[in-house]
Symmetry: C4
Subunit: 494 residues, 4 copies
């Protein structure tokens, strides 16, 4: 059989004959590809491909890859033709009955979206319905989950001080974020591999966010190419992009070039994860296949430490990144704003201000990096205590444990410009785009209700007297003085 | 068939013939009404009426409406006659067997009232015996129940400092409240739709309260007309009335006029709920029918946010109500005292003092409005810390989480004039009037015992040295100082 | 049949004939009594007696009464004779099979005493093995058990600061208590009705305590007459006696006269219970019979508040007792020392010092009086903070929640002369005298080990540097200042 | 049968004939011994030996004794010969089927070592797989486990303050400990009787530790002779040795002489256990046989207090040891460094500095000595507060509750030179040497990750600004002032 400019129709019978390592065809979305030369380059390993040699692999492919990826990996001369229409249903079922079962059990009887009335409801559903490995990857945090839990708990322990008898007929939740309009003071925090929750992954979030006037910060480890995510929204809609600097700096330069071309407005440079945290649930949850980011190229496998997606995808990250690199970043970012994501002390916020970045994001990676690090809200209070001037020099963002409109209001009252919402968006994706929109609606509604009950009609009115932080004030770093000779030696070197 | 001055006897057979939308009769309490022209005006919707077209609806009616309401809604010429005595039993069972079952399962085997020895016992029984929707409506609080729980917990964490070797042979729990005598320093806090717990609802409470010399503050969303509740008690007995100001101010004027005519002594103007809080348990609990307040006209239905009674009944509330309206309120309230209910900060208590109201009620709506707002007892301590002079300017009331006589004593010792008891009275209604009386007796008995054990014989002796508040003092707002430029901007505008 | 000086032998057959209200005989410990005239005077009611008319009631009698009581109640001419030896076994089983069963299930398979290695072990066993009413009476505390739990918890939160490298070869736990030698710095706190746990009740404790050189404070509501308890120990052994002042003061005078004659060394006057606290578990647990103290005459029944032993036995207590009565007490106590039991504030300890009593016992009645009152250990710290001079003026005792040798050591280090141990002795009685001795041994052993590990060899070395109270220091009353006009008015009157 | 210089081969048949108390042979590791004269000297009692009279006891022997012990106890003339090769398999099974079963159930289906990814995982496995008595002995702590739990909890409540944008490409965990190189800032804390977890016991730890460059502090109650443990590692590898001073000082002299000869570098003198703490789980867990340390000779039995290994093995400890003995210790220790293990107050650390020891170990014996004593980490903070100069005078070690690399980092940041890891090594032994190596790898990996995430590359950079201790600072002893006359008397005598 020969290739013609017009790819021929291929019968299932013929496909099945090309089923060896030295002559290997595979059918995906009705296209038949010759993957013989690609088998050993497959990031997910060769064996999984060989098990589908001469067969239809659409379903499994869809579970782990964005549709566009295959055309990036294989040149067009590897397209052998189109599979006969009639062949598909039978073959698909034969080839991956188990996968079909697994997906059905995961995505079967979703309750009505309207019965979901809080971010926690989405989490509860996600816990039950996501594949266990996906749940482990999304929900896990470092070692003993201390920081993960403190993030939530300490925000809840801040009390609100509602004012009464204000005219709250008209309330507005709008917020300018790095100069861009947002209908709400929160944005989508970057969270990797959204496609594991829904085939449309980050693209579904992009559609939902743009529909609702919300800014999405795309994860460096997104499952779709940057272009396909951004083009899911109207051209005018602003996007931010999360960056992990690659040990191979040229790759970073390339990604940032693409981002700039696509009109990305700001880069959130991750600074809290030179190495990945130890996420035990993620390490323990077995994985059968390899996942791979369409942007960073970061991918997972299994080694003797376990099966941690988070750890394995992070191997490309440059551990040497330091303050001196800010100048270089500025250069390669062009006019995109720079925000340092993962700042965790007043000292470093002051450094960031000196280095002239547009913003910092107080974050501990959702408790996924260094367990025991201070809850984000404590860092916000630390800034108020030790360097309140930074609020006037740049925008302060925060994420970690925010689940309610009232949680968001507390951070705004304490000086945050906006709050990042991460995991809840991943969880909302079990309902696809509609789920993400519903989540935005819930949070905005909660925020609006909280504002009215607190007696304010715009976020500009939210100041520190709106909250009572007494229950956690004693936890704010007090700047322990050096007391030993060694302490003084260390401090003198900083 | 024609109407005569003497309404005729009507057979079940004839009733059943008038069973269409254009010719619709219905029998309630043996009276047969022509509701054809009313079907589309029914606050509960037309379908429920049509399902009883040509049938006996007494039981369902009784579950959700006060007996008087129908005569207010339908003119006397709609009364077609009286149903044959013999017809009723059979028809009633046919028409609403399900309702009967539900009611029986809810009100079946009540344990002996004398086995109930605490307010919590009533709650425990109510949880089991009330219809699940009613339980959800009564017991629910906003979002994560943080404020709801803190209300209770923080009162409990206040310690008592009993004095010894005082002659406590004669102890007296009397208290003057806004100038009116009360046998106890607590009153019935307004709580909506008591009829869902017992057919006699607020009337049963009125009888119990007046029998025991306790003041009842009638809910704006009571299930009976104001008149019928007040006339359940002897004429001399004082009542308070809770007000939600209606967006249609004329309705508020009308209600206040009625209240004045009925001799109501004080108006508790709700100021903590321009919009209802998000009570998730209430939203989730399904409802089959519509409930409607006989006073405010507030009513419930179901929308895409859920089935929240609290939220749906609140739609008439005026979100624009503000301090400038106090003058108008004073005017329309005449000589009735004005108490602001739902004040939550020292700042607003000072405002209230400036505006010259007779009292404020420190309340967060039982945790039902803004979750995360400060527990009521913390606000009481905040007043002591920041504006102790207000205690001499007006009466300070408090509610939220008070369940024990000793809880009440703590509030009195800290300067409260009286304490509102809300949900426990609703729960006590599973035993009707007798239950409410028993609750009063329990609380009074606990209070009296606590006083004697604390070494005092009258409430005038209860001062701040009677309590040790060290365990919660650190939670009292300390007045966070503005630290950023933005903070100062916000504060300068307040 | 006639009475002869030598009481005749009576057959079971004859006994059984006297089985009516007007002719009622009963056999107890082989003696047959005519109780016809006593039926209506029986503190436990007539019905229980009538149910044993003409039968053998030994077992039930033993469960609730001291053996001596019957001879105090019935004159010797009511002794009809001795039951035939052979009759007893059969008849006893017939008459009270149910009682026998109940007792067996309660006292059946006791684990070996040597497997009990802590006070909590005794409690655990007692919970399972005591009659449920007895357990409820012993273990219950007021309303929400807040004070009961705080008593224990706060002692545990005091940390120890062990010193090292001290020669601890010889360690001594001796302590002088009110001038009397004790092998240990703890004594038996008064606890009522020990006989419900074991037929020998307080007498078993007396034997154990005297064997081990421990002082017993006999409860005013003991189940045996004072004389029989005290004579269970060698004559030289010191006893204390707890007093509830009776509304009928002559009864108090009489009791104190007896105490003095019996050589009692000190009177612990209860001042924290002018009325009994509300012990809900006690109220709820049903009781079948009436119990009655052989000393105070206090007895229980059932009324509409419930079945609380504690409440019902307290009805004789004088609510008018006050500081002015101290002079009278001093007079009637003669040379017995006076200790006020249940002092709960620094203010009252200072009063006590002024009135010149020999000691105070910081106690909240084991959490059984006013729930919410300060844990005893907090009062001890309050004294250290506000009136340390009292430690030099009188002896300070403490009880409530002490279960470990290390708990006792903490109190001593903070200035207590000795610690009262109450409930654990009741629980130990499921093993009778041997149990009580074992408890003493456990506590002494724990204390001795704690002392050695803490680096001290005598209790005179236990000072405040031995403990770190930082975890509870913030709970110590700080003396809230009056802030309102009303506060000042109240304080000026105290 | 006569002994020849060449021990003869002995058949099973012959062995079995010597099965009486007066003629008792036993086979262990194929050697047949005449133990007739030893029966009554056996520390484990005679009955266990008699039950193996004329039989093969290899398995049971191995479970409780080091192989070398028997040659120390029996002279060579008691070796009767070698058992026939063929005899063993059958006989062994016959003789101790029950023991085989027990061991199999304990050591059967171990999960793959690579699935163990944390110290807690080892603990979880150990809890399930160790014999219940061994688990009780290893894991138990004193009375109510307060100190045991606080040790862990308070370390966790210290927060980390990670610094960002530092070049962390190369990170180094090396630490000098008392002048000796260690790859990590932790060492093996002494823990008794490792052989109960694995036949190779302390020798397996020695091999693992030396392979990984980690220092082992050998327990005074190790199951193998000191020589055999030390010779399991290469000669150059440094060891420390824990000492309990024996009431018979000559034994201590002898042990220290051996230690010196074997090249031990430092002696950790236990000062927190003049008597053993009361470890209730250990007392309760029944033991069938006696265990005996091959070093100290400490051994266990059962008495009326229970079966506590810890208590029973401690009977030889000198309770009179005090500061004056330091001079003697210095003399008998020669050039070995002296570290006081179990120091628990700033006062005693200052004393230690005065006495010129090389180091102190802040320890409460893993919560096994005096329950309620301060968590170790609090003592470290106490030193910083009250005597920071001691950090410059000697090395400060710490143990108790450290389970994570980040826990270790916190202690280093606060001034500790190194951290002792005790129980986790015992638990790791269920996998033998490989387990112990895996544990070291896990901890080192966690530490390294924590350092990189915290922004440091060597431990010399870890200072007090790396941690936020606010959550526990209030628990640090504040030095309660003497307030009573008695306080002052006590303090004046110290």
């Amino acid at each position: 059989m020969e290739l013609s400019p017009e790819p021929p129709t291929i019968s299932l019978e013929i496909l099945q004959k090309h089923n060896t390592r030295s002559d290997c065809w595979i059918a995906i979305h009705s296209k038949v590809w010759d993957i013989t030369s690609f088998i050993d380059e497959h990031p997910g390993g060769s064996s999984i491909l060989l098990s589908y040699a001469g067969a239809i692999a659409t379903e499994l492919y869809d579970k782990f890859h964005a549709p566009e990826i295959i055309t990036e990996e294989l040149s067009s001369d590897k397209l052998m033709g189109y599979l006969e229409q009639s062949a598909e249903p039978i073959a698909a079922v034969d080839a991956s009955q188990e996968t079909v079962n697994a997906m059905e059990s995961a995505f079967g009887e979703t309750p009505l979206l309207e019965s979901i009335i809080s971010a926690q409801d989405f989490e509860k559903e996600a816990r039950q319905r996501l594949a266990s490995k996906t749940w482990a990857f999304y929900s896990s945090a470092a070692t003993d989950l201390v920081t993960y839990r403190q993030n939530k708990e300490l925000v809840r322990r801040i009390m609100l001080r509602p004012r009464i008898l204000r005219n709250v007929s008209n309330v507005c939740t709008k917020r300018s974020i790095l100069g861009y309009d947002s209908t709400v003071p929160f944005f989508v925090s970057p969270a990797a591999m959204a496609r594991l929750a829904h085939p449309e992954g980050e693209k579904a979030i992009a559609r939902a966010a743009s529909n609702r006037g919300v800014i999405q910060c795309i994860s460096a480890n997104a499952s779709f190419p940057l272009r396909s995510i951004i083009s899911a929204a109207p051209e005018s809609h602003p996007f931010f992009f999360q960056l992990y600097v690659n040990s191979d700096r040229s790759k970073t330069v390339e990604i940032l070039k693409t981002a700039r071309e696509l009109g990305v407005k700001a880069i959130l440079v991750t600074v809290d994860a030179p190495v990945p945290g130890k996420r035990e649930a993620d390490e323990r949850a077995a994985q059968d296949v390899i996942v791979r980011s369409a942007i960073s190229g970061g991918e997972s496998s299994k080694d003797k430490k376990g099966s941690g997606f988070g750890r394995l995808m992070a191997q490309y990250i440059d551990k040497s990144l330091n303050w001196d690199d800010i100048a270089w970043l500025r250069e390669v970012c062009g006019d995109m704003a720079i925000v340092l994501k993962g700042v965790q002390t007043a000292e470093d916020v002051m450094m960031a201000a000196e280095y002239g970045v547009e913003g910092v994001m107080l974050s501990n990676h959702g408790g996924r990096s260094l367990d025991g690090s201070q809850a984000s809200i404590l860092v916000l209070l630390e800034l108020r205590k030790h360097c309140p001037e930074v609020f006037d020099k740049m925008e302060i963002f925060i994420d970690g444990g925010f689940e309610r409109g009232s949680d968001i209001l507390k951070a705004i009252a304490l000086g945050a410009r906006a709050v990042g919402i991460g995991r809840p968006f991943l969880y909302s994706l079990i309902y696809g785009q509609e789920g993400a929109e519903h989540l935005i609606e819930i949070l905005q509604d909660e925020l609006q209700t909280s504002m009215m009950l607190a007696g304010i009609t715009s976020l500009e009115q939210a100041g520190p007297r709106l909250v009572n932080t007494q229950d956690i004030d004693h936890l704010v770093d007090n700047g322990e003085r050096p007391v030993t000779r060694n302490d003084r030696r260390i401090l003198s070197k900083l």
